[in-house]
């Protein structure tokens, strides 16, 4: 598939090392924090931002992200609200325009209820570049949804794990654009398994496959060491739970966010 213009593909065309992608949950800690955190991350110089669409039953997520989802839902967050919060983020009408590539991450049911086409259209309108929908499996995506995503220029980022078979990784590589999300270990988000030898073996194995797509490593990346290690084996890494914990403890000010990003990048 060829996409005319997409901030994610543009980014990887110009930068291929130590990319930092930071996840946060929309509407967390407070409903109106979405734009504050997004701007804070851009100002702190992250390369990509992943905005979580909260869901009541996030099976691939650990406690930290679950709680942020619950809190955001209690705050009244919904897809409709999220799109209205992001509505003018790409234009200069309300402060500094947001230029950092944006991904939406979440579960398929709220998206189905919103309407797949409507969702893609809204993403295009507000300037979302890609999505990560862990419980939308590859074959169903290809059978039913891929043409709609393509029509609106929205990338769908797929995950691979240490258990993913080589043939399937090849297929995912074939069908992906933007980047491949490498789940670091058999785990849900927020795991504290640390970096083991078996992880390194897995990272090396994937490296040796010479995939077409760049790769970011996520799950369990929570400090400078893990970010560094991931960057040795891939084009960069994704931080989620650690940032959510930071927001809950240290707040959403630009300084707080900058301080967090600096400790990761160091």
């Amino acid at each position: 598939m060829t996409l005319t213009q997409n901030r994610i593909t543009d980014l990887f065309a110009t930068k291929s090392e130590r990319l930092l992608n930071v996840y946060f949950t929309a509407g967390f800690p407070y409903l109106d924090d979405t734009m504050t955190v997004l701007r804070g991350l851009q100002a702190a110089g992250v390369d990509l931002v992943e905005i979580g669409m909260p869901y009541s039953d996030p099976v691939a997520d650990g406690e930290t992200i679950q709680h942020s989802n619950e809190r955001a839902l209690d705050n009244g967050m919904s897809l409709k609200t999220l799109f209205s919060q992001l509505a003018d983020c790409r234009s200069a009408t309300s402060g500094e325009p947001v230029t950092v590539p944006i991904l939406l991450m979440g579960y398929i049911n709220p998206v189905i209820q919103f309407g797949i086409e409507n969702f893609c259209k809204k993403c295009q309108e507000v300037g979302v570049d890609g999505v990560i929908l862990p419980d939308l499996p590859l074959d169903l995506f290809l059978d039913e949804y891929a043409p709609i995503f393509r029509e609106y220029g929205i990338l769908n980022v797929h995950l691979i794990t240490p258990q993913t078979a080589e043939s399937r990784i090849r297929l995912i590589d074939e069908e992906s654009d933007g980047f491949i999300y490498m789940v670091s270990s058999a785990s849900i988000t927020g795991s504290v398994k640390g970096v083991s030898d078996s992880m390194r073996t897995y990272f090396e194995r994937i490296n040796a496959m010479n995939l077409r797509n760049p790769r970011l490593i996520g799950f369990g990346i929570n400090n400078h060491e893990t970010f560094d290690m991931a960057s040795q084996y891939a084009n960069g890494a994704i931080v989620g739970s650690a940032f959510i914990r930071h927001l809950a403890e240290k707040g959403t000010s630009a300084e707080s966010i900058r301080a967090f990003v600096e400790t990761i990048r160091a």
Binding site: Y55, S56, D57, P58, V59, A60, G62, E63, Q66, E70, L73, S78, L79, K80, Y107, I108, N109, P110, V111, I112, Q113, F114, P134, D135, L136, P137, L138, D139, L140, H158, L159, I160, T161, Q163, T164, A165, R168, V183, A186, S187, I188, S191
Partner: protein
């Protein structure tokens, strides 16, 4: 009915079984074996083919079929003097003629998609004509799209089902999907499964004519006594099957979710039996309201882990069990407790529970001379006892399938679990189904007095039964269920589980007629619910 080779090849491809009344002609067996060689089928496919052939009566070529064959052969070539063809003659395949002759001789419908049989239509001797026109009619009707209640190889029942799972679960689920049918079809598996059902679970469970209840309701009511299974509910039919599958997949640990604790107890039981480690997730609220079952699980050696996320009930226990499986993908098998979850779970669980209707057919035949009742009634939480009770009747349109859902304090009360009344299509726990959700697609926490029905979705087969109109769905309130539970206790001396009491309560709403024969699946016994019942004594 006689099934032609092409239809059976379709079933083998999809790893599904034709209807129970099918007879397979010996000629078709030959064609299948030949086809498998020519198409170079893999060992698993051939195993499934033989398993399928084994399950149905074989229509042999008997001496008496020969005159029928001879007539057909001559007729199809326009050379039968007594019945000339009024269109051009054609040489039909000889095998097709033998298959048609077998159908004709047995006076059975021939189901085929092969239009070769088309040519055999037209005037002929009355005998020949009947069978041939039958063959023709059936051929045309099978070509029309028909509602199927069998799962497709991608795991769909109509619009519902599939495997909506994160990539982290893909290898586990795929391993299961690729192996479950061949594991189940293996004769050694079958032998062990049936032996355990008989000697350990106590099957077959009785089909009991409830005379006083029948008199009260003005129809003939039979109770399928799943409450007499070891551990007190139908849940163990599934856990026995799945533990044997888990062993054959080389798994060392079992994880499960439970609501009322019945599935947790049934899982802990088979883990004790087989010496496997067992971890059961249970909502912390459910742990309080079903304390005796928590103690039973612990006594059986299981670790019971409270699910403290979300609403702390069954749906959250399911989330936690799935998370556990993601974290332990290689050595752990997840025993789902109902016909829910990603494909192949709904199909696998339904197959294990299908023993219920398999027995009902035989028992009802022995008692009434017909294996088909007018109604089969079961409660639906996720829908496993209902799937088992419906299974062998899915393709028998004369048998109405009745599902009782929990309306809680009333469908519109805001405290309900009546999924089909309140839900919309969406994705829950790995399958597309009907679920209770907000406009934004957030899952709504259900409520029912019965913890086993307290689930916001239903299995995809039931969503399909609902959407296609094959099933009738009734919403039963807490009060109606309680009343039915007390009534059965007094009338028949059987204290039903609160879940099963919902099925009993549906009877009063069904407008039963005096000659109706009804089978109610009494999914479990009421001991676990005594603390709830005792509040209303």
């Amino acid at each position: 009915m006689i099934y032609d080779t092409n239809l059976l090849i379709g079933h083998i491809r999809e790893r599904s079984l034709p209807p129970l009344q099918t007879i397979i002609s010996i000629v078709v067996v030959g064609e299948l074996e030949a086809f498998s060689l020519k198409a170079d089928w893999g060992a698993q496919k051939i195993d499934f083919m033989r398993y399928l052939i084994d399950r149905y009566p074989i229509g042999d070529i008997e001496f008496d079929i020969i005159p029928v064959y001879a007539q057909l052969d001559a007729f199809s070539q326009g050379k039968l003097k007594t019945a000339p063809l009024n269109y051009s003659a054609r040489n039909m395949g000889k095998n097709d003629l033998w298959i048609a002759a077998t159908a004709l001789y047995l006076d059975m419908e021939l189901h085929t998609t092969d239009n070769d049989f088309d040519r055999t239509g037209g005037p002929a001797s009355p005998n020949v004509r009947i069978a041939l026109s039958k063959a023709l009619i059936i051929m045309q009707t099978t070509l029309e799209p028909q509602t199927s209640f069998e799962v497709t190889n991608k795991g769909f029942y109509g619009h519902f089902g599939g495997a909506f799972i994160p990539e982290m679960l893909y290898p586990n689920v795929e391993e299961l999907r690729q192996n479950y049918l061949s594991i189940i079809a293996d004769p050694a598996f079958q032998a062990e499964f049936w032996q355990l059902l008989e000697d350990y679970v106590g099957r077959p469970t009785p089909l009991f004519l409830a005379k006083r209840l029948s008199a009260k309701l003005g129809a003939t009511i039979y109770l399928k006594r799943e409450d007499l299974c070891h551990t007190g509910a139908h849940k163990i039919n599934n856990t026995i099957g799945q533990i044997l599958v888990a062993q054959r997949l080389g798994k060392k640990r079992i994880v499960a979710e439970t609501g009322a604790g019945q599935h947790g107890v049934a899982t802990a039981t088979v883990c004790a039996l087989m010496g496997l480690e067992c971890i059961v997730y249970m909502g912390s609220i459910d742990m309080e309201r079903q304390k005796p079952n928590v103690d039973r699980m612990r006594m059986l050696g299981a670790t019971v882990v409270p699910a403290t996320s979300g609403s702390q009930t069954l749906k959250d226990a399911t989330n936690e069990a799935m998370r556990h499986w993601i974290n332990n993908p290689v050595d752990t098998h997840y025993i789902i407790g109902s016909v829910v979850g990603p494909h192949p779970y709904p199909d696998m669980v339904a197959r294990f529970q299908s023993v219920i209707s398999g027995e009902v057919r035989k028992q009802l035949f022995a008692k009434t001379g017909s294996s088909n009742p007018d109604y089969v009634v079961a409660c639906v939480g996720g829908g496993s006892n209902a799937a088992g009770a419906f299974y062998h009747y899915l393709n028998e349109p004369s048998v109405r399938l009745v599902a009782a859902e929990a309306a809680g304090q009333g469908v519109t009360s805001g405290h309900s679990a009546a999924t089909t009344a309140l839900g919309k299509p969406g994705v829950l726990h790995g399958s597309r189904t009907i679920l209770m959700q907000t406009e934004d697609g957030q899952v709504i926490e259900p409520y029912s007095i019965s913890a086993g029905l307290d689930y916001p979705g239903i299995g995809p087969l039931h969503a399909h039964l609902f959407e296609s109109g094959r099933g009738d769905f009734y919403a039963i309130t807490d009060d109606e269920a309680l009343e039915a539970g007390f009534e059965l206790s007094k009338l028949e001396g059987i204290i039903p589980a609160l879940e099963s009491a919902h099925a009993l309560a549906a009877l009063a709403k069904m407008n039963l007629q005096p000659d109706d024969v009804v089978v109610v699946c009494l999914s479990g016994r009421g001991d676990k619910d005594l603390s709830t019942y005792s509040k209303f004594l």
